[in-house]
Symmetry: C2
Subunit: 338 residues, 2 copies
DNA sequence: CTGAAAGCGCTTACAG
DNA sequence: CTGAAAGCGCTTACAG
């Protein structure tokens, strides 16, 4: 691959001049610019971004550490992040933590070593020392979807969805359909979304005079298998719940697997609802009632906040809201025509 | 962030020595190694990968350009690629082409500019000049899933799935269930998988004495919308097909959308099958018959081949096979208990 | 076993 | 408007 000096030589100028035309520096005579451009074209020259980054101390790359690529929610998020970043001249490097803190750390480390300009993370856990370090060390950072608290993390903006109202709508919906024994498959307590969704569910239940007994809170990890496991436990209870709320779409998938494998039917035997909506929910048997996040807006806002930080502007946290999308998995809505 | 010279200073040695202990060079006295390591720990020093890459001419990063992140097949592929790469000490940078040749080129360019050590690509189209250039320019490359032919591309290994036998099995299955008018929602003719799946379908039909008339071949682009559009056209035909085979899972999603919106039922009104299996196919109404690719093996083999090329070993193409997973979307299999 | 020095491919004050 | 030179943070022959 040709280097800048090859271009300079061919164009009969210095490397400084080549660099100037490449960077659109105004002070270059038109004819020398043309000569340089011709040489660039002849050689098929492409600037080495590694060398440029070393010199300029910026990579024009953003790191994005997501909890699980196999989760359509994160995949959509990643897509909107990439779109927004590209629009602003940044590329994004994705790391998939697979809901594993060790893998998350691995990616944070790698990304920081590669000197990405900023880091977008949706933490899998309560925050490792390494994560805190990255934040303190000066790498601009923003949390998306999930976040962590800690020494030196107050400065880190959080871009997320508040599902509170939507969860309340869901509970109202379930209540109206006659369900009284409601259970939740929770995400890891180490994650904010894991805790918040349970809290929101619990307080909505209280509003309707309903309790959330311990045996109706199943501990999942946001992945399908845990949804299966927790659902099995629920269904084995002497008084199983009438409705199950899965805190993400993969655990809902696991729940369906388990329900189906027992020959039971949704919603006749158990109602089911999920946090996070996905296109397939329209076609499942029955279509699944879900809480939809504005994923695209989330990604755009996160990138906006991160670039603000990178470029030295103050960046604010952003909270968007989710909405309930009622379908048939909790029972036939009143006044509907089946 | 501290640089190597800060470590050297604190440890009272030269930067060369620090570099040696960081790279596990054997010729370092134990006590100086300890001093250096202590300084590294004190400062929280992390080597700058950008500088290292510039010096060593390798980034230990692989580029992966996939056609569509929102397609679960590619998402699974990306995951297995990342796993395999990580095991071998490489990280992977993903670029999402969104089935758009221009975006694909953008990513290839960016990745090559960043001097990734090798490129894994699943081309969206017939191959842009830029792509050919990347291959010729010396960037080690391997095609996954889809590939392109062209001047200078003979050397590029192809790691893919041959769906021929599975497609034949599918046609046999449809035939056994009494379907005779079979249609296909094809992928772009510019892609190998787009063409191959039609070819395989056509020759399987021929084997059963069936024709594949032009109006039963709908041109899609591997995304959901096109599945909807093509299905609408099929259903508007004076003699609509009895069965529709979608060449990927997103077009199958679009087909279901369209079928449902017309108040028709699968498989009673039309049978449906898809290339690529996904976990949700078990829970759709009805469960969808699909052709499953060994995605994990595909990713591992692709990484293996690419690293072979990078490290100067000869790399071979790999062809794996797909298998039919019959479910209920084509009709009740003989001898089954509903 | 260790250090001084060159060099990877760029950019950017500083002169002229 | 252009060039010579320094320097980004490393690694690695080459001496000693």
């Amino acid at each position: 691959m040709p280097a800048i000096k090859d271009v300079a030589q061919r164009a009969g100028v210095s490397v400084a001049t080549v660099s100037r035309v490449l960077n659109d520096h105004p002070a270059v005579r038109t004819d020398t610019r043309d000569k340089v451009l011709a040489a660039v074209a002849d050689l098929g020259y492409r600037p080495n971004a590694v060398a440029r980054s070393l010199r300029t101390h910026q990579t024009r790359a953003l790191g994005l550490v997501i909890s699980d690529v196999l989760n359509p929610f994160f995949t959509e998020l990643a897509r909107s992040v990439e779109d927004a970043a590209r629009d602003r001249g940044y590329s994004v490097v994705i790391g998939n933590a697979d809901e594993r803190p060790d893998l998350q750390d691995h990616h944070v480390r790698t990304l920081v070593d590669r000197r990405i300009d900023g880091l977008l993370v949706s933490p899998t856990d309560g925050g490792s020392p390494l994560m805190l370090d990255a934040a303190r060390t000066g790498t601009p950072m923003v949390f998306v979807d999930r976040w962590i608290e800690g020494e030196g993390l107050d400065e880190v903006p959080v871009v997320r969805t508040d599902g509170g109202a939507a969860v309340r709508d869901l509970v109202a919906h379930l209540h109206a359909l006659g369900h009284r024994r409601l259970a939740i498959i929770a995400g890891p307590a180490a994650t904010t979304t894991g805790r918040e969704r349970v809290d929101a569910f619990r307080s909505a239940l209280r509003e309707f005079g309903l309790a959330l007994p311990a045996e109706y809170i199943g501990q999942g990890d946001f992945q399908a298998d845990s949804g299966r496991r927790v659902t099995a436990r629920f269904l084995d209870l002497p008084r199983p719940p009438e409705a199950i709320f899965a805190a993400d779409n993969l655990m809902a998938l696991g729940a369906m697997d388990e329900i189906r494998s027992r020959g039971l039917r949704v919603p006749d035997d158990v109602a089911l609802a999920a946090f996070d909506d996905i296109p397939w929910f329209v076609h499942t048997d029955p279509p699944i009632t879900a809480i939809a996040q504005p994923t695209g807006d989330l990604g755009h806002a996160a990138v906006g906040a991160l670039i603000d930080r990178i470029e030295g502007r103050p960046a604010a946290s952003v909270t968007l809201s989710a909405r309930l999308v009622p379908r048939r998995s909790c029972g036939e809505p009143e006044g509907s025509t089946p």
